[in-house]
Symmetry: C2
Subunit: 394 residues, 2 copies
């Protein structure tokens, strides 16, 4: 009696997770140092000291029944307050705690946001290249994910194509900046233009179109790059955040949805998220983690290593003749493969123990993703493997 | 564009949570010691020392990128292995790690289990009195919850009525023993009879009927009570467990589903749970919590206080003329109210700062729930309030 839709999903496992599993197995055979695993976005730098100290302090000093007790269904008030305050200070917003919903990472945030603003059959637009897990997140809600093809010259928003995708069934647009997998950051100009289009379409259709902004890489922006706060530029915006990358704690599953106070239904959306959580039996993120992040909201791990890795790889790949849009943030880049079939290209890379993820599942064939959240000495050692790989195609 | 079904849910908030919120507010007015809050099942005894020490050890000694890194989608292998081993030793089962799925508490476990074995329109049978959150858990999956009326003399399974509920659309039966709200524990004889009926119905309909066993109170069983391990008695069983009550960590949202190795689809169900998690964007429980429980699986908080509280309250209520089935476990009892309308009765109790939850939302009118997970001195002090309440009805 297992529903067919789940059985079908079993055959479509995450390409990224499978490549990562291959890497772990290969490391057992030839040693971790010899596998250049650029598959998974698992941060390589430790959580900040302040976070570790806060965790210790909580476990050592807080009364256990209070520390590990039930969180209110909508999140711990002091944590929500601290998140609102931090966002207001940093981005000149006017969030109150009632606009903040604590949730299990950006994945949970996106799935909740989409459920809250779509009915079955509604359409959600996103832009290639995109994080492949958007497909299960959106499809499971009953809404339909529509994918605007990539502008492969910039990996910014493909506005010409976007206009073809609008119709009255569109109730949400999902963006991810800084972007996984391209590393591209949408500029103020780009986001302002998007905002204008969405506002026009809202008037035309007579219903809100929500901008769901997936921002786990918000804190990883490289020197001199214009990286505006999305919600500042559009009223009906839901900001989906995760502490996975900024604090290097992806396994702890903690993030939030911030509902723009200017938003349609701003006063009920957090309550609606609570009902969605209730329905999936998930309730809140762990009390300990909510309390642990409360005092370190404005801290980050030492993220500078990612920019260093980007520079080394980007320069070297250009020299080797790769075409690549320069990343403005994240720990990803998305170069063009040296043959049309990126899957075959990534298979060949495996021969040099270079684990790259083909771009097909990101909605952009002929490209591949490098996750350079590995330590810099390994990045440097991997260059030889890239050389050998490129040589095949000379 | 917020779906109507969520807006409707907003009006139907948990009666328990609302009573608890009232209690917190009232405590601010007259002091915590003067409010006899028997509303919420929030454990009153601290987590075991071993758990706190394990947490400290992990935070102090484990490498942060490893400790807080992504968990595999189906749970951390060493944790799953430890859970399987512990269950096998305690209950003579033959679980392997592939039968264990780590999940966010019993709530998540039930919601996942029901999603995995029902298609839209299938029916899930449960027995009154039942935990009211079963309604959102099951309804959100697209299956229909069917409620067998209570046998108010025993609060055990009402077999005569049960038979009327079977039809080919039934693909799961959901039980909760030790039971919230009655505290009753199903005996070996009761569960064996249920198992026989389910096996017969499976043959009759030619499809599996899963027994979903909600067991967060498994470790809270009073002296001399027969409390068999449910999965031992039925092949197609999914055991839903939470560490919330045994370790007093309800806020940490950690539990598991154990798939009976004898089960139909035993080899794919954990994978299916993984796909369900993926679709709701929830993924795994936090890495830190998975690792923290791994070495304390067979420990519990000092649960003896609940039996002590039960004895004090049960004896006194009987003296006061209350009718009540004696609990065999949990920290709940479910006496008959002193007037027909339990809501009115509980409103009257509030006048003495006695917070009781009316039984209506548990599917059993005319009764009320007492959650006696409070410290014993407070239980003793509350007796005067019960006396005053009973006196009104003399």
């Amino acid at each position: 009696m297992v529903p067919e839709r789940y059985k079908e999903m079993l055959g479509k496992k995450s390409v990224i997770r499978e490549m990562f599993a291959y890497g772990a197995k290969r490391a057992e055979e030839i040693g971790y140092d010899h596998v250049f695993d650029y598959s998974l976005g698992n941060p390589s730098v430790p959580a900040p000291k302040d976070f570790q100290e806060r965790l210790l302090e909580l476990v050592q000093s807080e009364e256990p029944t209070k520390l590990h007790g039930y969180s209110p269904s909508l999140g711990i008030e002091s944590t929500k307050n601290a998140v609102a305050k931090s966002l207001n200070q940093r981005f000149d917003m006017s969030y109150q705690s009632k606009h903040i919903f604590m949730v299990s990472g950006a994945a949970g945030a996106i799935a909740h946001a989409v459920r809250a603003v779509t009915n079955g059959g509604d359409e959600v637009i996103t832009f290639a290249p995109f994080f492949p897990e958007y497909i299960p997140y959106i499809n499971s809600t009953g809404a339909l994910l529509q994918i605007v093809p990539a502008d492969i010259n910039t990996f910014s928003i493909n506005f010409d194509k976007l206009l073809e995708f609008f119709n009255p069934k569109v109730t949400a647009v999902l963006i991810n900046t800084p972007n996984n997998p391209s590393g591209v950051v949408y500029s103020t100009q780009t986001l302002t233009k998007l905002s204008q289009i969405l506002s026009e379409k809202e008037k035309e259709y007579g219903h809100p179109i929500y901008l769901i902004s997936d921002e786990p890489y918000r804190e990883i922006v490289f020197n001199g790059v214009d990286a505006p706060y999305v919600a500042k530029l559009y009223h009906n915006s839901l900001t989906c955040y995760s502490f996975s990358k900024s604090l290097s704690i992806p396994g702890e599953r903690i993030g939030y949805i911030a509902v723009n106070p200017q938003c349609e239904d701003a006063d009920i959306l957090v309550d609606v998220f609570g009902q969605i959580s209730r329905g999936i039996g998930h309730n809140c993120p762990p009390s300990l983690m909510q309390l642990a992040i409360e005092t370190v909201l404005d801290k980050t791990s030492d993220l500078s290593v990612y920019e260093k890795n980007k520079e080394i790889l980007y320069e070297e790949l250009k020299k080797l003749g790769f075409e690549c849009v320069e990343p403005g943030g994240t720990f990803y880049m998305f170069p063009r493969a040296l043959e049309e079939d990126a899957n075959r290209f990534c298979e060949r890379a495996k021969e040099f123990d270079l684990l790259l993820v083909p771009g097909d599942s990101f909605g952009c064939k002929g490209h591949f993703r490098i996750s350079y959240c590995v330590d810099t000495p390994k990045v440097i050692r991997s260059l030889e493997a890239f050389h050998k790989l490129a040589k095949i195609y000379k």
